[in-house]
Subunit: 262 residues, 2 copies
């Protein structure tokens, strides 16, 4: 039987008895049909990954008895995704895929032409947690509350570069841009910014282009939906600047275990 | 009002009266509420893109009166996507996103660990047509019937390179591989091959690695779902070898028209 992998908030160390949330207890007991003593893998975003065994308590509670560390916490690329909210299934997709693609932070951004104003931050976070659990990540990206584009740019953190996917065709090809950055830019923290389906307003485009941190890139001759543009830009960034640049040997056994948990 | 953009099979030339299918007539009349004389854009994958006006006929039929050409047909990258079928919503997503990302052909592949054996080819094609209509493509990718991996490899076309996303960690980083290809490989036709959620069987991996056309690449330290791996590899290929390498100026008006049709 495959091993369930769970994100929890508790500190992890050998011998710790980590309480599981009600939803996690329900999931393990009733969805996965795990029994007392079942094998678990736990991570909290700080202490790496640990084996544990399931301890079933009352009807609705459970705990995990933490045993040994299987992976140490490692540094991850400092990449944000700033995106205009889109309709529900597509925004779920962005949270899930961006987590798999290794973003550190998801920032919904309200723009002039943003069609969707309400964002369920808890739902986005749940999608991010699930994607992290299922794809071997050791962290869960932070999900921030929506913010107006103007406010975001006004308080933009010094030194964080901004890759703007320019759907008006004004950007240089993304591979050109990313392969010719100077060393300071290559090692800087980055953000990718994606406009709404209706495009950025002219004033928004100007405000973005005025910022010295902004680099406009083009993503080819076809119009991409906002979610596709986000995922494509994340993949290119990880491949050319991020942690896809180093080979990552993996045991076939590791792979199959994790894939089988889906 | 935005302009509806439709894929049709008929040859396109000035003065042609192109019959529309029943589903298209229904869509224009009842979903989009178009009236007699409404502006259309048409493409057929061969003759570029044309303006046309809608001519409503009987209750269920309609035609388009073709007027002037707006874009000429252009060559597109010769890139296939060979992927093991996955469950319904995710396979729909692959067809849609792969179309946006410019694949020429979608080839479902049955492998030892493929969980999903039935593939609705018509449904995949409908997703591809819709994505092409909405994202300014001038072609619709071909969707082939599912084929066993062994059969696909036995009759693999001479000269077509195969980029294998190696989820066992055995591949070199994708950006390394794509940036160091020799000129012949850069200009060759390519295919991207993605295994099933359960991974390729050992014998399948060996068969793939034995082929001289195959290059294994890695997509970073996180486990990617099969659909994410497909979209990430397509984006990297287009950015580094495909038609994202040339700048594509686009009029803001073009962009807004097309985005507003969604």
């Amino acid at each position: 039987m495959s091993v369930s992998r769970l994100f929890i908030e508790t500190d992890l160390a050998a011998g710790v008895e980590a309480p599981l949330g009600e939803a996690q207890a329900h999931y393990l007991r009733h969805v996965m049909r795990r029994e007392e003593g079942a094998r678990l893998l736990l991570f909290n975003g700080r202490d790496g990954e640990w084996t544990a065994t399931l301890s079933l308590r009352g009807k609705k509670t459970a705990a995990a008895l933490v045993e040994t560390q299987t992976r140490v916490q490692a540094a991850e690329p400092d990449l944000w995704l700033c995106f205009a909210p889109i309709k529900r299934t597509r925004i779920d997709l962005v949270a899930e895929k961006a987590t798999e693609l290794g973003v550190a932070l998801l920032q919904p951004v309200l723009t002039r032409h943003t069609a969707v104003e309400r964002v369920n931050v808890e739902r986005l976070r749940a999608n991010a947690v699930e994607a992290a659990e299922q794809t071997e990540r050791l962290t869960v990206p932070e999900v921030r509350a929506p913010i107006e584009l103007g406010h975001l740019l006004d308080r933009w953190p010094a030194g964080r570069r901004l890759l703007m996917c320019d759907e008006t065709g004004g950007g240089r090809p993304i591979a050109d841009v990313l392969s010719t950055l100077d060393p300071a830019a290559r090692s800087a923290p980055w953000a990718i910014v994606i406009g709404p389906e209706g495009g950025f307003a002219a004033a928004e485009l100007e405000a973005l282009r005025r910022m010295k941190e902004v680099t406009s890139v083009g993503l080819g001759p076809r119009i991409l939906r906002a979610d596709t543009a986000a995922l494509a830009a994340l993949a290119c960034w990880q491949a050319m600047l991020g942690d896809w640049r180093t080979p990552t040997p993996r045991l076939p056994g590791d792979y199959r275990t994790s894939r089988a948990t889906r």
